[in-house]
């Protein structure tokens, strides 16, 4: 299926929860969705006939300045088509439904997005840091991040 067809199918099923399809030069076409509907839309993308996105290639968090973004790169082993799903949440309450129950590969990717960007994933079974020490403070990939002076008495440079 082409991104346009996927978008039309999602738009038919989810209405206003699917915001727009963005297809501009120098960019992989992506579909912007409301954060509250991420799980349902992903569930539909994984299981509906014709879509069957069974492979989550990558899940990335991004700092968009005012907001935080989550980007899902999906691939279907069966149909060999791809789609990018994007959602945006506010920095005050960065809560996105977890898709870990749909694709287990999301488990570590979501932990990484929490660790580095501070995006919380609702329903994740083990919502802890993954790359940084468990007692680290702050989320380093945010643009306004200030590294602490010391960590357990050791100098952080």
């Amino acid at each position: 299926m082409s991104p346009q067809e996927i978008y039309e199918k999602l738009k038919k099923d989810f209405g206003d929860l699917v915001t727009e399809l963005v297809d501009v030069p120098q960019t992989d076409p992506y579909i912007r969705v409301q954060p509250s509907a991420v799980f349902d839309i992903c569930h539909s993308l994984r299981d509906d006939a014709g879509l069957e996105f069974d492979y989550l290639m990558s899940l990335s968090g991004t700092d968009l300045g005012e907001q935080l973004g989550v980007v899902y790169h999906l691939y279907s082993m069966h149909h060999r088509h791809k789609i990018v799903i994007k959602t945006e949440v506010s920095k005050e309450n960065p809560l996105v439904p977890s898709v870990e129950r749909l694709w287990r590969s999301a488990d570590w990717h979501e932990r990484e997005a929490w660790d580095l960007l501070g995006i919380r994933f609702d329903g994740h079974h083990n919502h802890i840091r993954i790359l940084l020490p468990y007692d680290w403070e702050g989320h380093p990939l945010r643009k306004d991040y200030q590294a602490p002076e010391t960590y357990h008495g050791m100098k952080v440079s």
Partner: protein, 383 residues
């Protein structure tokens, strides 16, 4: 006579025979600084919890402060066993955003160095996997042969492991006069050693008893966990981006995608994952021979390299088939010479996440073998 104080112990409440063991982070069998928290019941593994981050170097944060060209040496240090392959999806992503078509000679040179590096990577993977099972000789054989590959890559790029050889739009340096003959000599050496390894290791009955039926990964679980590369193909899923997405000039070569067939053990066990790597070395040899034959002699591989790179606004996700699996780069450009966001989706990072799933119920010694059969490199896991 004082009264003896009785201690009533409720034995059913005592977990007397379950034990939590710390494996790593400083132990050779964890293939780097990986720490596994393992719960064992006697000698049976009941739970595995990987703890990552001992080699975390803030790769993604660094990238936001560096120009696109400066990032390439850092990418080498992710999967330092196969640095050539690492650089490829990154420069491919930038070339796609800049709309650069690289010359034919560059494409063939990229194929040759990447496949050579793939062979070197699989040699280490099979050698250390044998080492985990207690076979020391194949390790020496493979390391002897790998040195010839590294010499070729060193002559091309100037470095043994961390090459910094790919450039956006070309390569850092041209080939040297005896390059083609040396590559063909190495291919012959690789084939000869692999034939020896078949008897020495692969079909050795002790090795089969240690690795067959161990760590079985079913195709459904492998896809759901996002596994890729030999881990996925060992489970019988013929997914290879060189064929399925045919980037660069891979559509011009005749090669097969080896999958686990279960001739020994069952599809998806450690033996089959390892066998996929051995078979892939032969396929890489075939690709190299064809690429050497088709590679044009004329052409300057450095001609199209831009001095300054300013990527137009946009974002792209590019992935390529690395020896360990799919390596993807998600690059967001803000129109300057530095990326707004760069995320590396390492194959080792994703493949490692399946360890807790497939190692439950096996013996503790098997856990080390299962980890070896996944073939991880911590530089890519922790980034």
């Amino acid at each position: 006579m004082s009264e003896i104080k009785r201690m009533d112990l409720e034995y059913s409440q005592l977990d007397s025979d379950r034990m939590r063991i710390n494996v790593g982070p400083q132990h050779p069998s964890t293939h780097g600084v990986l720490r596994l928290e393992v719960e064992v019941d006697g000698e049976i593994v009941t739970e595995v919890v990987p703890h990552l981050g001992y080699l975390h170097r803030s790769f993604e944060k660094h990238c936001e402060r560096m120009t696109y060209q400066q990032i390439i040496p850092y990418i080498d240090r992710m999967d330092y066993i196969s640095a050539m392959n690492n650089e490829w999806p990154y420069v491919m992503a930038l070339e796609k955003m800049l709309d650069i078509k690289v010359p034919e000679k560059v494409e063939y040179l990229r194929v040759i160095v990447s496949e050579l590096n793939r062979i070197a990577n699989h040699q280490i993977a099979v050698a250390t996997f044998g080492l985990d099972a207690g076979a020391f000789t194949p390790f020496l054989f493979y390391f002897r042969d790998r040195e010839y590959i590294i010499w070729i890559l060193e002559k091309l790029s100037g470095a043994r492991l961390l090459y910094n050889y790919f450039r956006v739009g070309g390569m850092a340096a041209d080939i040297y006069p005896t390059f083609k003959q040396e590559v063909l000599d190495v291919v012959a050496k690789v084939r000869k050693t692999n034939a020896e390894i078949m008897n020495l290791l692969i079909y050795n009955s002790i090795f089969i008893k240690r690795t067959a039926h161990v760590g079985i990964l079913t195709p459904e679980v492998a896809i759901n966990y996002g596994c890729s590369g030999p881990v996925l193909r060992g489970s019988g899923v013929a997914h290879d981006l060189r064929r399925d997405e045919a980037y660069s000039v891979y559509d011009r070569f005749d090669f097969e995608v080896p999958v686990g067939k279960g001739e020994v053990g069952v599809v998806g066990d450690s033996w089959n994952r390892n066998m996929v790597r051995v078979n892939e070395m032969e396929q890489s040899c075939r690709i190299i021979e064809q690429a050497i034959a088709q590679m044009p002699d004329e052409g300057d591989v450095t001609a199209l390299i831009p001095k300054r790179i300013k990527i137009p606004k946009g974002e792209v996700y590019m992935r390529a088939e690395n020896p360990k699996g799919d390596l993807g780069f998600y690059i967001v450009s803000n129109g300057t010479d530095k990326p707004e966001r760069l995320k590396a989706r390492g194959a080792s990072f994703v493949n490692l996440s399946v360890i807790p799933e497939i190692s439950k119920g096996y013996m503790f010694a098997d856990l080390i073998l299962i980890l070896g059969s996944i073939d991880i490199v911590l530089g890519e896991v922790d980034r």
